[in-house]
């Protein structure tokens, strides 16, 4: 099969992944550092004869996605942290109505208006249910421009498979940087499913509705029980992660996205120094790979969690390991980007003496 290979920003690779996945509707509102993505979609969706709307707000964009998705079509919206906060209402409604849809967050520094530098401080919001109610969304964390394409492409199939919103959680660095991206020239949308629930008009079938209001006694609990069953199924089927040099590791980095990639260099550097380091990179942040971390934790392994946040994912690592003494953390906040040297310096300061002494 003939491959296409070219140099792309993460934002544009993400957009192309969506186009190749058969995204028929895109609604977006300008916000840095994902503006290239919206501009790319404006160009590509028009080329493909599909729908692009620059909405009046992020609220409107996610609700347009709600409508297009309810009509049975693949739909996406993208934004960055402050804009994603505004979309949470719509994401909760989509989860409640069991509507598929893809949301991309190219994270920037927060809280508030923050800045436009890369950050990972929306982990809680993405993985613990940013909107109201008991719901979950699948969260994919790319670490390369190639994964910006691949995960966005796959997100549509996952969303359709489970009738649930899926988020691609990237950051400003991934969005802005350029790398080669490669895919089959004639790649077709995958995982297309029939959508008998869609709002297409009551032709040859009874009228139906898409809603999340259930006032009758017990009905809403019934919906919630069904949703939770679905979330358990997703946890069973969709957990993804990548292990690097973990087999004999005494200390395992846990890091995702941009930092997950940086931590590879940290592992290599430590291995050169004779330290048995490894890396566990969660690819799905929800469902989170608790069991894999539990498995790695057997035999007294130490964990070094590093994030561009005050420490959010580290809470999930603690839940998995159940031994805080073995978990260390280094984070940068507000758009601060660490270097591998800086991460390892912190690791040396916090942990290395213990590893050397075999403690």
């Amino acid at each position: 099969m003939k491959k296409v290979r070219y140099l792309s920003t993460g934002n544009e690779a993400c957009g192309e992944g969506a186009v190749r996945a058969g995204c028929l509707f895109y609604g977006g509102y300008p916000i840095t550092p994902q503006n290239e993505l919206t501009a790319y979609m404006a160009k590509r969706m028009n080329e493909e004869g599909r729908v692009f709307i620059q909405s009046e707000s992020e609220l409107s964009a996610i609700n347009m996605v709600f409508g297009a998705s309810a009509a049975g079509y693949r739909a996406m919206t993208t934004s960055s942290s402050p804009g994603i906060s505004l979309k949470q209402e719509g994401i909760s409604y989509m989860a409640g109505c069991e509507l598929p849809g893809v949301i991309v967050n190219v994270m920037r520094g927060g809280p508030g208006l923050g800045n436009i530098a890369p950050s990972q401080s929306d982990y809680f919001q993405a993985t613990k249910g940013g909107g109201h109610g008991d719901y979950r969304i699948i969260v994919l964390a790319p670490s390369t421009v190639q994964e910006m394409f691949d995960f966005t492409y796959e997100a549509f199939a996952l969303a359709d498979k489970y009738r649930n919103p899926v988020m691609v959680l990237a950051d400003g660095m991934l969005g802005q940087m350029m790398e080669p991206v490669e895919f089959d020239e004639d790649i077709k949308p995958s995982g297309m499913v029939k959508k008998p629930w869609a709002m297409t008009g009551a032709k040859g079938r009874p009228a139906q509705s898409v809603k999340s209001l259930f006032l009758a006694d017990g009905m809403l609990e019934e919906l919630n029980i069904r949703l939770q069953k679905k979330f358990r199924l997703i946890e069973k089927n969709e957990i993804r992660y990548e292990n690097y040099q973990t087999k004999d590791a005494d200390i395992v980095f846990v890091a995702y996205g941009t930092i997950g990639r940086m931590a590879r260099a940290c592992v290599d550097d430590l291995r050169d120094k004779g330290i048995k380091a490894g890396l566990m990179r969660p690819v799905t942040l929800w469902p989170f790979p608790y069991d894999e971390i539990k498995r790695l934790a057997k035999g007294g392994t130490k964990f070094f969690v590093t994030e561009m946040s005050a420490g959010q994912m580290v809470e999930d690592v603690r839940l998995a390991v159940q031994d805080d003494e073995r978990i260390y953390f280094y984070g940068r906040m507000g758009g601060g980007i660490p270097t591998p040297e800086e991460i390892n310096a912190s690791l040396e300061e916090q942990v290395l003496e213990k590893v050397r002494e075999g403690k």
Binding site: F25, I53, L59, G67, A71, T200, K203, A207, S209
Partner: protein, 243 residues
């Protein structure tokens, strides 16, 4: 014997939850009559608001979604853009359309979205207990204006339909009142014209319907109808606002 009237095909044969004398049941029926007359029941997709009409899908026998509060026109935009051949309309109250959803309605109009809007203006939030709406008249008592609506404190009744008339993307706007048999007929005619405007691809249209809320106006249904005729139409004159 000739049957002169029957329940529209598009209306489910169930009792509604609306209060005695409420205008929603009547306006629901008018919408259904228009859908039937146009023969588009199987091509119709409605978007219900948050508010008293949130349960519209229980009464309409065509596909109906429920949107988040005020996002109704954005949801309708998403549906219509991917299914341009369908009849897509929103049905919104004054809280949904003129308060929390002001941005969505203005920009759907400004984009000239080829959708129809049935805007029911009864001057209060009914579902939540009769609070002040942007459309509440000056001097009107509500749950949140215990000293009545005063311009210095709560501002003025909002004429959003007149505001919409300034937008180039808007094709047709009319205000009617269901407070008399003549007004009911005019309302039906306006809804028909709005739906036709959409089916002909002419762009955004909206019908504002002045409707009674006896419960939260604190008066019996007949007096509520009289209030529309005597007081409400002074603030909100009926007629074609843009065509």
């Amino acid at each position: 014997m000739r049957q002169l009237s029957s329940k529209p095909r598009s209306m489910k044969d169930v009792p509604t939850h609306y209060c005695p004398g409420c205008g929603h049941g009547l306006i629901h029926r008018l919408v259904c009559e228009v859908v039937d007359e146009l023969g588009v029941r199987e091509e119709t997709i409605a978007v219900a608001p948050v508010g008293c009409a949130v349960l519209a899908y229980d009464y309409w026998d065509f596909d109906t979604l429920e949107a988040a509060h005020g996002r109704t026109p954005a949801v309708a935009t998403g549906i219509k853009r991917v299914q341009p051949g369908k009849l897509v309309f929103t049905y919104q109250g004054d809280g949904d359309l003129a308060a929390i959803g002001t941005a969505e309605i203005i920009h759907a109009g400004n984009r000239g979205e080829n959708i129809s809007v049935v805007f029911v203006n009864n001057g209060v939030y009914g579902m939540t207990g009769g609070q002040m709406a942007p459309t509440t008249l000056l001097g009107q008592m509500t749950a949140t204006t215990p000293r009545t609506r005063r311009p210095k404190e709560e501002g003025f009744p909002m004429k959003i339909t007149e505001m919409m008339a300034t937008l180039s993307g808007v094709a047709y706007l009319e205000r009617t009142a269901v407070s008399s048999p003549r007004g009911v007929m005019a309302t039906k005619k306006a809804i028909l014209r709005s739906f036709r405007t959409q089916l002909e691809g002419k762009g955004f249209s909206m019908v504002e319907v002045l409707s009674p809320c006896p419960t939260y106006w604190g008066m019996d249904p007949v007096r509520a109808m009289e209030r529309i005729e005597k007081e409400v139409v002074k603030q909100y004159p009926v007629g074609v606002i843009k065509e």
